[in-house]
Symmetry: C2
Subunit: 211 residues, 2 copies
Amino acid sequence: QDILHKNNLLAAHNRGYFEAKEITAFNLVSSPGSGKTALLECTLRDLGKELDFYVIEGDQQTTNDADRIAKFNIPVIQINTGKGCHLDATMVKDALAELKPKDHSVVFIENIGNLVCPSMFDLGEQKRIVIISVTEGEDKPLKYPDMFAGSQLCIINKIDLLPYLKFDLQKLIEYARRINPKLEFIELSCSSGAGLDQWYAWLKRQFAFSE
Amino acid sequence: QDILHKNNLLAAHNRGYFEAKEITAFNLVSSPGSGKTALLECTLRDLGKELDFYVIEGDQQTTNDADRIAKFNIPVIQINTGKGCHLDATMVKDALAELKPKDHSVVFIENIGNLVCPSMFDLGEQKRIVIISVTEGEDKPLKYPDMFAGSQLCIINKIDLLPYLKFDLQKLIEYARRINPKLEFIELSCSSGAGLDQWYAWLKRQFAFSE
Ligand SMILES: Nc1nc2c(ncn2[C@@H]2O[C@H](COP(=O)(O)OP(=O)(O)OP(=O)(O)O)[C@@H](O)[C@H]2O)c(=O)[nH]1
Ligand SMILES: Nc1nc2c(ncn2[C@@H]2O[C@H](COP(=O)(O)OP(=O)(O)OP(=O)(O)O)[C@@H](O)[C@H]2O)c(=O)[nH]1
Ligand SMILES: [Mg+2]
Ligand SMILES: [Mg+2]
Ligand SMILES: [Zn+2]
Ligand SMILES: [Zn+2]
């Protein structure tokens, strides 16, 4: 409880920092391999020229995800948590001090692949985006409710695989809405490109600054 | 550290309990939706008549998985951890006291869908089985090394989807072996049935009792 309280104070600090610099910050959460990094790769490829992006990557080990982001010549920091199962506000605060993001930029934080623990740690983000892959099954929102309750957007990824799966997309949305009636949804495929335009439109609507 | 130490003592207790009753116990771990419950469903359907099975189910919320298991008329207990991100040895000890498994039976423990935290909590199992889906990407063993280091069998699931994915199966195995050279591998599909015979053969080789 003390840990959570301490984290909330630092998250408030980060939130103030973002507001002062009119930075739009997002916390990307999902199970391992649902497509967080792939979504960032598409976004940086397609919008990288028109906006200032910064990325904070979180993983237990390796710099694999930061390496993939770095290919787009975007400032990126990799945090390795070792045994840690979630990013916390202190790690993000330290990463920002190193990145020194410009005013009016967009900061993406890719959390550890974990549908459980990151839900308890506010990082100071403007919005939390939960990504679920159509391969994971419909009942995940019910089984991992805190993550869906604490997010504002749910991206349903890998829709290119729908023809080969017994997956009920409407049921997934129904379950997620049961947990969080205000949750917004975007269905897309990072690999085929389907739905990416909806994601970019949503992204631009969130900006803390006028473009 | 104190929590881990306390857990290890109770895990030893569970291990002694299993040995006394010649029970073979498995801890099934994976990301959310990789197919832990699906694997149990196939196993109970195909081997349910010839062996005594018991299942301990772990989820943050819902009895969905225990309900799926119960359809096979197998004694099953659902543990709901609420905010908790892993099963621990105490929860398993309490579940066993309720299940009262027979001598020479097989106990499956399905852990919370989480590639991080369950790796730190010995439950007293004979073997830990990590399931990874071909949809998750090849680098998961490197990014979540503790889970692969602490497992003895790696089941690669959903191979029916391989034709539709850019997935390098050999690379996945290479990465996992880098983390754990002794790791055994079985490739299968719970939905198509491919590879299940290898899983059943491996299972029978593990028995703490002669069949
Ligand atoms: N078929 C299909 N595969 C996808 C799609 N998006 C991502 N993938 C694949 O899914 C795997 C995991 O993608 P990542 O981007 O690494 O996922 P992640 O959420 O960043 O994973 P972690 O950071 O390790 O938790 C890779 O093999 C991707 O190629 C998609 O839209 N369709
Ligand atoms: N295509 C395909 N889908 C599968 C396979 N095995 C399981 N699935 C699907 O994957 C989804 C998740 O399966 P589950 O058995 O619920 O996975 P789980 O690991 O028990 O999930 P949690 O307990 O919630 O972490 C479901 O929609 C299954 O139908 C497979 O071999 N191939
Ligand atoms: Mg990633
Ligand atoms: Mg399950
Ligand atoms: Zn945690
Ligand atoms: Zn944990």
